[in-house]
């Protein structure tokens, strides 16, 4: 697996989050997206779909670990490595 493909994947996730917040232009990898309310509880399912689309991997809703979704860095580690 080439690293450029991985980068593209997490970029898609970043773009999806930024797309919900037109006032923001940047999102650093370590920013906590839950505490900063960039993704709320109802939007989370859409984040999961966005990650699935970007990674090409299906995510098991019954085995979701919230820790994997704290920031772009944790998302990248969990779903794009």
């Amino acid at each position: 697996m080439s690293s450029s493909v991985d980068t593209q994947g997490i970029d898609k996730v970043r773009d999806w989050i930024l797309g919900r917040h037109p006032d923001r232009t940047e999102l650093a990898p370590d920013v906590n997206i839950i505490e900063n309310r960039l993704v709320d509880s109802l939007a989370f399912v859409e984040l999961v779909y966005a990650i699935e689309d970007a990674s090409g991997r299906e995510i098991d809703f019954d085995a979701i670990d919230v820790e994997d979704f704290q920031s772009l860095a944790t998302i990248e580690r969990a779903f794009f490595s």
Binding site: D40, S41, L42, A43, V45, E46, I64, D65, V66
Partner: protein
């Protein structure tokens, strides 16, 4: 007051905020006075997660469901179950000769009456208070207030089923069905099961539980649940769909087939004979 009464104040606060918007889905001029003392505090406490738009969209959906159910004149009695600080009897246009029953526990009804009297509020239809413990047998109280089970009824249960267990929610639907003459209807909401199990909802749900108002029941198969308890779904809508806050709902409406989606069901149903 009971913790659930604070929930009624929270709903009133949400309706007050909706009423003050330029693009308000409805106007409830009494809501602000009914929200005290805790309503606005709870708005802040439970902020986020689409709650405010959901409360507004649900209220509007049920307003519309009421007007649609009464339109052909076949129904002239409406029962608001766990009415809380609902002011529909004061703010909707009611056809002539409609009786509206508001069932809730006694202390809440008294407090609501005290505030409405102080405001000089006048109901726009025949409004009857039904003080009752909805966790016990409350139909006798409804009958005492004048309810006639031989005539078709519209039952409205707003923001109620998620406070019940699945068994209690099923029993409630069965009880309403048993008291329903042919042609009766039911308008209410059910939460999605995935929503209540989502780890992302957990902090909010834990907070509600700690505050004494846990959200318990939800299903992702509302048609089956309703059918299993004496009713047939005639309309099933989710927030964000046409006619249900389209443009106001900050989330995508997910196709029914999508796994894991957070559902909020707005439901109209008709009673099934037998």
């Amino acid at each position: 007051m009971h913790a659930v009464s604070y929930t009624a104040q929270w709903m009133a606060a949400a309706r007050a905020l909706e009423s003050e918007r330029d693009d308000a889905l409805y106007t409830d001029p009494l809501a602000r006075e009914l929200a005290a003392p805790k309503g606005f505090e709870l708005i802040e406490r439970y902020e986020g997660g689409g709650l405010l738009p959901f409360i507004s969209i649900r209220t509007k959906y049920l307003d519309d469901a009421i007007s649609s159910a009464l339109a052909d004149g076949g129904i002239d009695q409406v029962v608001l179950i766990a009415a809380g600080m609902d002011t529909r009897a004061f703010r909707l246009d009611w056809p002539e000769d409609v009786t509206v029953y508001e069932a809730d526990h006694g202390p809440l009804i008294e407090e609501k009456r005290r505030r409405l009297d102080a405001l000089g509020a006048v109901p726009r239809t025949d409004r009857r208070e039904v003080p009752a413990d909805l966790t016990g047998p409350w139909m006798p109280e409804l009958h005492k207030a004048g309810f006639d089970p031989s005539r078709p009824t519209l039952w409205v249960a707003e923001a109620l089923t998620f406070f019940l267990t699945e068994e209690q929610a099923g029993e409630l639907l069965r009880l309403l069905a048993a008291e329903s003459a042919p042609g009766s209807r039911l308008a209410f909401d059910i939460l999605g099961r995935a929503l209540l199990r989502s780890p992302f909802s957990k902090p909010f749900l834990d907070q509600l539980a700690a505050d004494g108002t846990p959200w318990i029941f939800g299903t992702d198969e509302p048609e089956e649940f309703v059918r299993a308890h004496g009713w047939k779904v005639t309309d099933l809508t989710e927030p964000g769909e046409p006619g249900a806050g389209e443009g106001r709902w900050p989330y995508q409406v997910q196709p029914r087939s999508r796994r894991g989606a957070n559902r909020l069901w707005l439901i109209s149903a008709e009673s099934v004979a037998g």
